[in-house]
Symmetry: C2
Subunit: 342 residues, 2 copies
């Protein structure tokens, strides 16, 4: 018998879905991108789904229920934006054990509704179930896009510019902080313990209440900018870049000194004595957009707010590497999400 | 704090979704039917999702993994057929703890693929996750239908005929049998114990490997038959009929002696000393179709294979009742699914 941890998430998915042959003419793109693409009368419909399990994806000790609902919705919207689409409908399934009250479930939904309101999405269905154990959330988001606007992971070409929105590593450092304070709280067993979050609001918000980059997608439309490839950064820059390289059949170089990092993220990494670039490369859950642009956009990128050029696409045989401040090349590794590892 | 069990599933969903106002022009129908309806360029897209949790919806002691995958897919297809649509795509999310092997997950998927193959559906995406506890399956099915062919729960009118496909109570009696043999197995602690399933294959198959009524939907198309309302029977005839009555603002009468019941179901009920009609009314998971037809179809229904007329729709003030063999009227109750109850 093969242990799941010996394969990891991506190889497991590959093994489970390698036999799939799409047969319906409406099925345009199946497994392997941020969202599936289905064509209905020429309108391309985007579909994405996320499963969130208590103890794996969230710890109710430090995640407020409303934030949990908000985040669960937003990370689905983010997958639709990552295809250059617009999220329009949401299905929400929830499994709850009897230790939850109706009021607590309503808290989760209030977060979901807040996200729907902000992003213009309709909640249209779902499923509600009892659970033997913890809290389970499964969300499916439907989005739409014009056929010629959809951006896949597979379109990056040598010499394309690699760009990211916002900054990286913040959500990961926020998680480290929450886990540290949670450990202190448990160890002290002092009911009056107050965690020390002053000056760290930004990284906490990045972890607890992330936003999807709707603004960047709107900017693309406004500027007539069509990325050649794109995905959202949920597992970490390094892992996502390797997905784009693999799907596009290319290599890449990114520069350590160009990776955008917020001041609070840097301070927190110092406090934890952690390597800042490692946090930015491998810390997940930032939900920023990673995308590639044709070379001719090089001069214009500087004028675009919240977008940073961090490197370029190469031929496949160059491999994928990070160029450090002192000019060394370090091969990128997909550490990313490791929930299957022990 | 309000306990979830004090509300039950349907009231909980009502409470959680009462504030929803659909805002996107593409959102045609939200919560409250077998599937949501979204319009893309005039093509109506159907969306349904199901969450299946170990210990609540299935017991791996007696549900083979391949059957579990098959059933999980089929019950989603059934929801699309219940709207008079055709399932086309499927998203599968799975959460597994480390006690599962890759081979076991492949077993589940082999069942899902078998169902996809049989019903002509493409698996196009999903999510895979570790789990702290048991097995979690969340499936979302996408289907399509012509706008004027979609059948909602809300279209039943007084004097319409109430019909069901196939027969009822079989899946429930199959479950009773499985649970009895499982209890004996656990009590005896005899590793060589072989359950006694001879002559009971039909009710076991109805429970473990149910089918969706694709054939009935195809018959509707062939005969030019358009139901006024429809849903699939997952929670039990009584509960589903009350949904149709509520959504359509009508009452109903169904006849005890007209409810179709298979011979094996009847034998099993006798063996268990259970009321057969109660099993047929309240036993769930048959995934037969319950639908209403205009009165003029009365004479033609007899010619349709696998369809039985069991009663008629009345004005709202008549209420919903079962007419027993001796002419008594018994008010219908929605016992249905009680997983939230203790």
């Amino acid at each position: 018998m093969t242990e799941i941890s010996s394969l990891g998430e991506f190889k497991l998915i590959e093994q489970l879905t390698k036999q799939v042959e799409l047969k319906n003419p409406s099925s345009v793109k199946g497994v392997g991108d941020d969202a599936a693409v289905v064509d209905f009368n020429g309108k391309q419909v985007l579909l994405t789904t996320d499963l969130l399990l208590e103890g794996i994806h969230f710890d109710l000790m430090y995640v407020p229920l409303k934030h949990l609902g908000y985040k669960a919705a937003v990370i689905n919207f983010s997958d639709i934006y990552a295809m250059n689409g617009k999220p329009t409908q949401l299905l929400v399934s929830i499994g709850v054990s009897s230790r939850f009250s109706v009021e607590q479930i309503e808290e989760i939904y209030s977060g979901i509704y807040l996200a729907c309101e902000k992003y213009g999405v309709d909640l249209v269905g779902g499923d509600t179930s009892a659970s033997m154990t913890g809290l389970t959330l499964s969300l499916t988001c439907i989005g739409e896009a014009d056929k010629d606007k959809i951006v896949y992971r597979s379109g990056a070409r040598p010499n394309d510019l690699i760009c990211v929105s916002g900054n990286l590593g913040a959500a990961y450092m926020g998680l480290q902080l929450l886990e540290r304070e949670n450990t202190i709280y448990k160890t002290q067993k002092d009911p009056d313990f107050q965690p020390d979050f002053a000056g760290k609001e930004y990284i906490l918000e990045r972890q607890l209440k992330p936003e999807a980059r709707k603004d960047i997608i709107e900017l693309f439309a406004k500027k007539g900018l069509q990325p050649t490839s794109m995905m959202d950064i949920s597992d970490g820059l390094s892992s996502e870049l390797m997905h784009i390289c693999k799907e596009s059949g290319v290599g890449c170089r990114i520069y350590e000194d160009k990776i955008p990092i917020d001041y609070q993220t840097a301070l927190m990494a110092e406090e934890f004595n952690m390597n800042l670039v490692t946090a930015a490369l491998n810390g997940g859950e930032d939900y920023e957009l990673l995308f590639t642009l044709p070379l001719e956009w090089h001069d214009k990128i500087k004028e675009l707010e919240n977008i940073r050029e961090i490197g370029y696409i190469t031929a496949l045989d160059m491999g994928a590497a990070l160029v450090t401040r002192d000019g060394q090349e370090i091969t990128l590794k997909a550490q990313g999400w490791t929930a299957f590892e022990k």
